[in-house]
């Protein structure tokens, strides 16, 4: 037995190392937790959280690496100034190369100043954006990445000591960048929006189509779970939908770059997005620590004024609606809700006959004249006959009894067409004089 272990100890160690890691993987594989309200109107987003053991390994790795990354990041300026001082010392010793070295030094300084100016502009833009932004934010510097091709993740120099917590939105002045994942005391992981495991609720600005944003294999964010729609065109802006409880609503995400058909589901498309934020070269970011609005006094005054105006407008609108309702009650309806339902009439060809549109029946005029509907004859004839004439279709002079073609079709056929019956005025209309005219 001893010779077995000594002979195969290499393989045994390999298998033991692999077995331990596979067991570790198996422990980590858990059923993902569905966040039902993640995307309003869309499918649920599945997330998983690390256990304490896994988080400990991440803490060790981050604690091991991030101090060096922070030191490298902070030493950049120091190295630059050290190099400048070295050039200065050389400058004092060698008079013959004074001009050339001065030029070199100036070039270096120019490069430094240019870099500082660029950084100053970026910070100024970030500050301006932050001041105009209503939510509470914490600025942070990017100090490193995951270093793995399967993970689009960055490290920032702010952690739980600065008020950061998991699932906080990370943005730039150009657009959203990602969300905070694991938080350590002085550093934090930020999962970028172009990672394949990320997820954010977004909406297309013009077409108002909602979807889920996540990264693809090429590191580009794309909107998935969208049915094929020809209205989606390249260049359309994409905004956050606000239903995922992470990103506030309306933040810029990017613009549509191209639309691809989903290879797995033919009726769905994938909308590839050109992100608004430069995810490959992030330097400074803002972490939204609270979604509670942080308004300046001027903004609060404006908001109160807006609320007052809005309240008055709502009251006026309610008053108008009430008046319209009262008016609608007083006016007669165009259709009698109590009228019996007539069965459809079948034509000689077996097809149902569509009745001609019925125009509203005009009310009986109290004093009809030649301008009153159907009152042309009555106006020209004797006044005692005018009331019945208004309710009786015009008949040709030959006395055939069929209405003239010029007569409005909408007028219902009067019951007086039957012999022995008299015409009656509508109940709602004033009762005309009973002429007892019989056709």
């Amino acid at each position: 037995m001893e010779s077995f272990f000594s002979r195969y100890r290499n393989l045994i160690v390999l298998l033991a190392a692999l077995l331990l890691q596979v067991i570790g993987l198996a422990v980590q594989v858990r059923r993902p937790v569905a966040v039902a309200a993640a995307i309003a109107g869309g499918p649920a987003v599945h997330i998983s959280r690390d256990g304490s053991g896994v988080l400990l390994i991440r803490l060790w790795a981050a604690s091991l690496v991030t101090p060096f990354e922070r030191a490298i990041h902070g030493a950049g300026d120091g190295m630059g100034s050290l190099w400048s001082n070295y050039v200065d010392l050389r400058h004092t010793k060698d008079q013959n190369k004074e001009l050339q070295q001065t030029i070199d030094r100036l070039r270096l300084e120019q490069a430094e100043l240019r870099e500082d100016a660029l950084q100053g502009q970026r910070l100024q833009a970030m500050l301006k954006f932050r001041e105009s932004y209503a939510y509470q934010t914490v600025p942070a510097q990017v100090i490193g990445t995951s270093g793995s091709s399967v993970s689009r993740l960055i490290y920032i120099d702010k952690g739980s000591a600065d008020g950061l917590a998991p699932d906080m939105a990370v943005i730039t002045s150009d657009g959203i960048a990602g969300k905070v994942r694991d938080v350590f005391p002085h550093t934090a992981q930020v999962l970028l929006i172009n990672d394949q495991t990320s997820g954010a609720g977004v909406i297309l600005e013009k077409t108002r189509i909602r979807g889920i944003l996540r990264g693809n294999a090429g590191g580009q964010p794309q909107v998935i779970n969208i049915l094929a729609d020809g209205r989606i065109q390249p260049g359309e802006h994409v905004l956050t939908a606000g239903g995922d409880q992470i990103f506030p609503r309306g933040l810029p995400v990017g613009a549509v770059e191209k639309v691809l058909r989903d290879p797995d589901r033919g009726s769905f498309i994938e909308v590839v997005i050109k992100p608004a934020a430069d995810l490959q070269h992030l330097d400074e970011v803002l972490v939204i620590t609270s979604l509670e609005p942080q308004l300046s006094p001027q903004q609060q005054t404006d908001l109160a004024t807006s609320e007052e105006l809005k309240g008055a407008e709502v009251a006026a609108d309610a008053e108008r609606k009430k008046a319209a309702a009262e008016m609608a009650e007083r006016l007669p309806g165009l259709k009698d809700p109590n009228a019996p339902v007539t069965p459809p009439v079948i034509g000689p060809d077996g097809q149902p006959v569509v009745p001609p549109p019925v125009a509203p029946k005009p009310l009986q005029a109290l004093h009809p004249d030649r301008f009153s509907p159907g009152g042309a004859q009555g106006a020209t004839s004797s006044g005692s006959d005018s009331g019945a004439a208004a309710d009786t279709p015009e008949t040709p002079a030959d006395g055939t009894g069929t209405p003239k073609a010029a007569a409005p079709k909408a007028q219902p056929k009067p019951q007086s067409a039957k012999p022995g019956t008299t015409t009656t005025a509508p109940k709602s209309a004033p009762k005309p004089p009973q002429t007892g005219r019989v056709q």
Binding site: R9, N10, V13, L14, A17, L18, Q21, V22, G24, L25, A26, Q28, V29, V54, I57, R58, W60, A61, A62, L64, V65, F68, E69, I72, V142, G144, T145, S146, G147, S148, S149, V150, S151, L153, Y155, R181, D182, Q189, L191, D195, Q196, T197, N216, A217, G218, G219, Q280, H281
Partner: protein
């Protein structure tokens, strides 16, 4: 293949390094692997921890040493990602073991052989990661194989510079 088979003792000797090299070089590899993509962006086609694991496994000629160093560096890489712990760990463990096993049997002083080994083992590492992600974790693997080829080529080229530089740090009798 006469030139590939170690036929004299010098080729089979176990290279030894100062202790601080064992500590600083893997640490620097992990730190640089996490920091350089900030400068290079998406063109950071390299896997420095894997390179370091391969180097020490080849030169120590100890499969156990290569296995454990590969596992340690891989787990450190996993700790910096948001994925499951063990993806890089398993891949680097196997690569470290294979590199040491190959180092026992063939001469690995030749730069061309080192480059081919780095290229092949980096591709193998990608394949193992794909197997772990798809097979064990049941997740989708969306990486582009063209990127993996570039990464393997990058590792091969970096190895041409890194390995001779690390050779200078070994303890000579």
């Amino acid at each position: 293949m006469p030139t590939l088979i170690p036929d004299y003792r010098r080729d089979l000797e176990i290279r030894r390094y100062p202790l601080y090299i064992y500590v600083l070089v893997p640490l620097a590899a992990v730190v640089l692997q996490a920091w350089l993509p900030r400068l290079l962006g998406r063109f950071a086609y390299m896997d420095l921890p894997l390179l370091v694991a391969i180097y020490f496994a080849l030169n120590r000629r100890s499969p156990i040493h290569g296995t454990l160093l590969g596992a340690l560096l891989g787990l450190a890489q996993d700790g910096l990602t948001q994925g499951a712990i063990g993806i890089h760990g398993i891949a680097n463990t196997v690569c470290g073991f294979l590199a040491a096993s190959v180092g026992i049997r063939i001469v690995v002083e030749n730069n061309a052989i080192r480059m081919v080994m780095n290229f092949a083992l980096t591709l193998l590492s990608s394949a193992i990661m794909m197997g772990v992600i798809r097979g064990l974790l049941g997740l989708a693997w969306h990486s582009s194989w063209l990127d993996e080829l570039f990464r393997a080529a990058g590792n091969g080229l970096i190895g041409l510079v890194l390995f001779p530089a690390l050779d200078r740090t070994q303890i000579r009798d």
